[in-house]
């Protein structure tokens, strides 16, 4: 009977998802936990030491991570909210240009982007050199190092979390709400504190949680600014020293913190989403009429924008510099286009690019299969364990790359059924596997979002007209979802090509991906070569952003119907 066939298919999908998620996400986490308590004397007492701040390596690193994350939330929050209000509420010359440029940090490549900060503000960097010459002192007086450097990187790379959510909230808010407040006798200040800010709270909280999670996961900034008293650095150091057990202990703790924040984020988003009921038109912006005020606003906006895009500008400048031509001047002294030519001529560079593209492509195919099946199953089918699958799907998104890498190492250091009886550590395939695990949530989320916009009646209509499930899936559902799927897959691809944090722990020198090549070039102080790779990554991000934008615009008919 067909009722049984239907149940069997749903059951098979559920089992498939369960196996994949257990094999590559949850199982590896359990393996890491087992590893962490493998010391017969230590056991769970290792975890108690986390709360011994300042005296144990665990406590010290957790305190360091937490402090940096809290401060990052505050600084990135101030920057993001400030820019959002400035650009959404006031009209001034070049506002539209600024609005585009403040999003540039999104295109900043993971490793080279952070290095750009070091080269701008760190020891021997551009600004310390300029200031040193200006005040005739040693450049190191003005150099950012350690903690402050990490904070600067976090602020300038994570403020978009606040900027995007707050500007979305501001642009959706209805003029009539404010006018209602004024008409009820509220002053300007009261309107802001009693109406506008409370409406922005969900956006700010969401931004804060995201920033906190990203800061906890951040590894590259502490690495390049020489901060090792954070959890991610401790994990990598322990792993490099061969102490997998200690790396596991810190990984598990970091995973727990990340998961707690994931749950906070999801429950908070579900509880408080203010949507204006009215349709409303485009928001009116405040026109600035007094010339002095206009000049000041413009100057502030321009300065912030320049500051924000400096790192990317730096990458482009460096990409044309001759390796080793930069010693005691604010900028390199010799320029060339050779770096780009070498990329194709030097077999080692070319190989790294090809490796990265291959690994990313393999991973993306996997993310599409898993992302689409899981999004469809969760969005359209009712079965027991649906919520569990939903949480497990989003889990890798919350886990820091370092933790994902340690999980895979502990799980696949020995043959397992999920690796078809092979040891994966030290092979080519563990890298695409890590990308697959890390970036499946991106495809899952964007597919789920597209599916949520799709009237379930459309599928039922197809079925009632005689289409089998498979026919309606192919001819109706997929054509309507493919934009969402493509957007997620492209994002997964870009992220894979740039991935550094997990890669550094699991790659094997025989198959060196791009991010490791950049890291090696930086180690040799070949800034020109490294930056030219960086430019390649930036271009890739820009292309993908343009395509995604296009897709979203074409998407409008989905909402119209």
């Amino acid at each position: 009977m067909s009722i049984w066939r239907k149940r069997i298919t749903t059951g098979a999908v559920f089992v498939f998802l369960g196996l994949v998620l257990w094999g590559y996400v949850v199982g590896p986490m359990v393996a890491t936990f087992r590893e962490s308590v493998s010391n017969p004397e230590g056991g769970l007492t290792e975890y108690v030491r986390f709360f011994d701040f300042g005296r144990s390596a665990q406590g010290e690193s957790m305190l360091g991570s937490l402090v940096i994350s809290f401060l990052s939330v505050i600084t990135a929050g101030l920057a993001g909210v400030f820019l959002a209000v400035l650009l959404q509420r006031w009209e001034f010359p070049l506002r539209r240009v600024c609005q585009v440029l403040v999003l540039v940090p999104i295109a900043l490549p993971p490793l080279m982007g952070v290095e750009a900060f070091v080269l701008l503000y760190g020891i021997g960097g551009t600004f310390p050199q300029i200031l040193g010459q200006l005040f005739n002192t040693s450049p190191t007086t003005f150099a950012l190092n350690g903690f402050a450097g990490v904070l600067l990187v976090h602020t300038l790379t994570m403020y978009p979390y606040f900027y995007l959510s707050v500007s979305a909230a501001l642009s959706q808010s209805d003029d009539a709400l404010e006018e209602a407040a004024y008409s009820l006798g509220a002053s300007r200040v009261q309107t802001w504190t009693r109406v506008i800010l409370p409406m922005l709270t969900p956006a700010i909280v969401a931004g804060a949680l995201l920033t906190f999670m990203s800061s906890m996961a951040s590894y590259t900034a502490p690495l390049l600014f020489g901060v090792d008293k954070v959890m991610t650095s401790q994990i990598v150091i322990a792993k490099t020293n061969g102490d997998l057990r200690f790396a596991s202990v810190v990984s598990v703790m970091l995973a727990i913190i990340s998961v707690v924040f994931l749950i906070l984020l999801q429950t908070y988003e579900q509880r408080t989403i203010y949507r204006t009921q009215s349709k409303g038109g485009a928001r009116k912006r405040q026109q600035i009429t007094r010339p002095a005020a206009k000049a000041v606003t413009f100057a502030i906006a321009a300065a912030s924008t320049v500051f924000v895009i400096l790192p990317i500008a730096m990458i482009f400048i460096l990409a044309f510099s001759v390796n080793g031509s930069w010693r005691t001047s604010p900028l390199p002294s010799q320029y060339t286009t050779q770096n780009f030519l070498n990329m194709f001529k030097d077999p080692k560079s070319w190989e790294a690019i090809i490796n990265s593209l291959q690994m990313s492509a393999i991973a993306v195919v996997g993310t599409i299969v898993l992302g689409v099946i899981s999004a469809y199953a969760i969005g359209r089918k009712r079965f027991r364990g649906r919520t569990v699958i939903d949480i497990a799907m989003m889990l890798p998104w919350a886990l820091p790359g370092t933790v994902v890498a340690i999980n895979l190492i502990t799980a696949f250091a020995t043959p397992s059924a999920f690796s078809f009886g092979k040891v994966l550590v030290g092979t080519f395939s563990i890298v695409p596997l890590a990308y697959f695990v890390r970036f499946s949530p991106l495809v899952f989320r964007s597919t789920a979002a597209a599916l949520a916009q799709l009237d379930p009646g459309i599928e039922e209509a197809a079925r009632s007209l005689g289409a089998t499930w498979w026919y309606s899936f192919r001819r109706v559902v997929l054509p309507l979802l493919y934009r969402g799927i493509a957007a997620g897959a492209l994002l997964a691809f870009v992220n894979s090509v740039g991935e550094f944090v997990a890669t550094i722990l699991i790659y094997t020198p025989r198959y060196r991906p791009l991010s490791i090549a950049i890291n090696d070039e930086l180690y040799l102080a070949n800034y020109g070569t490294a930056a030219s790779f960086g430019v390649l990554q930036v271009l890739l991000v820009v292309i993908v952003l343009i395509i995604t934008r296009r897709l979203e615009h074409q998407n409008s008919w989905q909402k119209a119907s």
């Binding site: 009977m1 067909s2 009722i3 239907k6 009237d455 009646g457 459309i458 039922e460 209509a461 197809a462 079925r463 009632s464 007209l465 005689g466 289409a467 089998t468 499930w469 026919y471 109706v476 054509p479 309507l480 008919w557 989905q558 119209a560 119907s561």
Partner: protein, 358 residues
């Protein structure tokens, strides 16, 4: 000939009461049948089970002699029109209509003929290549209708198809649906919460509340002889007065209202389950339009409350010892009711209907 039969159809959602509670129904060929009830009464769920979008918890669905209870929707040969229309946004108008024929692998030339005649039937000729989001709501509704009809369904199911249209368009579409039904003769099940839609279009109506059928009948029967208190109050403007049975004779029954007023009601003016025994409590349904102002002494007196002018009638509230009573008088009546006036209401035993109160 019975086209559709529901036997003890029941649907229970997780941890809840029965949304559809043991419904028995049989629908004949060519009928325009309406499921009418307030939102949440289970009418849409019933329709979706007939279509195969939901599985019943228990009971059977038969198309003719064929048990289709667990058949998937694509093997039922039904046409379904959704409240949201559910047009395929990536296909043109013609491709939307052609979808069901393409699935059935109808030859190209026949397919084109059938699509254009279906579009002609709903007066959309010439819009074939338009994108569906370029159409107005009314046009989208008609594409949905053409798409469902072109496959020549055994059964056409309509789920509140007019609720997204504005008032004027709704009336036009109502007439269009009715005439489409008389030309195609397709057995139609129509779901709505709007009693005037149900009354004006249906051959028969089933009134549902809380998952149960309260009455099945023609629009006249439903209006004139409500089977339950719920039906009486859901259809039209009805006053429900409590009364006690005094005496029962061969032809009629005398009931006493709370203020002692006695009414002689013909025996056929009662629901089947009313118990006629002296002392038994019954509900007296009085339609607002069946009440008149009078000078008679044997009448209910009260004070006029708010008067609402609605065009053809004036709707008045009269405050009486029996509670507030709604009265509708034709606007053409010479005496114009004024708020605060003392009035007397004439209640005729032959214009009321008795229902069970509890």
């Amino acid at each position: 000939m019975t086209v559709l039969r529901l036997e003890g159809l029941t649907k229970t959602f997780q941890r809840g009461a029965n949304v559809v509670d043991a419904i028995d129904l049989s629908i004949s060929a060519g009928e325009f049948f309406t499921l009418l009830g307030p939102s949440g009464c289970g009418k849409s769920t019933t329709l979706r089970m007939i279509a195969g979008f939901e599985e019943p918890t228990s009971g059977r669905i038969l198309f003719g002699d064929r048990d289709v209870t667990y058949d998937p929707p694509n093997r039922r040969g039904i046409g379904f029109v959704f409240q949201s229309y559910a047009l395929f946004p990536h296909l043109s108008v013609a491709r939307n209509v052609a979808f069901g024929l393409e699935v059935r692998k109808v030859p190209r030339s026949e397919l084109n003929d059938r699509v254009s005649s279906a579009l002609k039937e709903v007066q959309l000729t010439g819009l074939d290549s338009m994108r569906v989001d370029q159409l107005s709501g009314g046009q989208q509704q008609r594409v949905a209708l053409a798409r469902a009809l072109v496959i020549r369904p055994k059964l056409l199911l309509l789920d509140e198809p007019l609720s997204n249209l504005d008032a004027k368009l709704r009336e036009e579409t109502r007439a269009a649906l009715r005439s489409l039904h008389s030309t195609t003769k397709v057995t139609t099940i129509y779901v709505t919460h709007d009693q005037s839609e149900a009354m004006s279009m249906s051959d028969r109506i089933a009134v549902l509340n809380a998952g149960r059928i309260h009455q099945v009948g023609t629009p006249d029967e439903i209006y004139e002889r409500p089977a339950t208190k719920f039906v009486a109050q859901f259809i039209g403007h009805t006053n429900l007065l409590e009364a006690t049975v005094s005496t029962v004779s061969e032809r009629s029954v005398v009931v006493a209202l709370a203020d002692g007023t006695e009414l002689t009601v013909p025996l056929d003016r009662r629901a089947a389950d009313v118990i006629l025994k002296p002392g038994e409590r019954v509900g007296v349904c009085v339609r607002a339009e069946s009440l008149q102002f009078t000078d008679d002494s044997n009448s209910i007196s009260g004070v006029l409350g708010d008067v609402e002018y609605t065009g053809p009638v004036r709707s008045c509230v009269v405050k009486t010892a029996l509670g507030d009573i709604e009265v509708e008088v034709p606007s053409s009546a010479t005496a114009r009711p004024v708020k605060g006036e003392t009035v007397k209401l004439k209640l005729s035993g032959s214009a009321v209907h008795l229902v069970k109160v509890s």
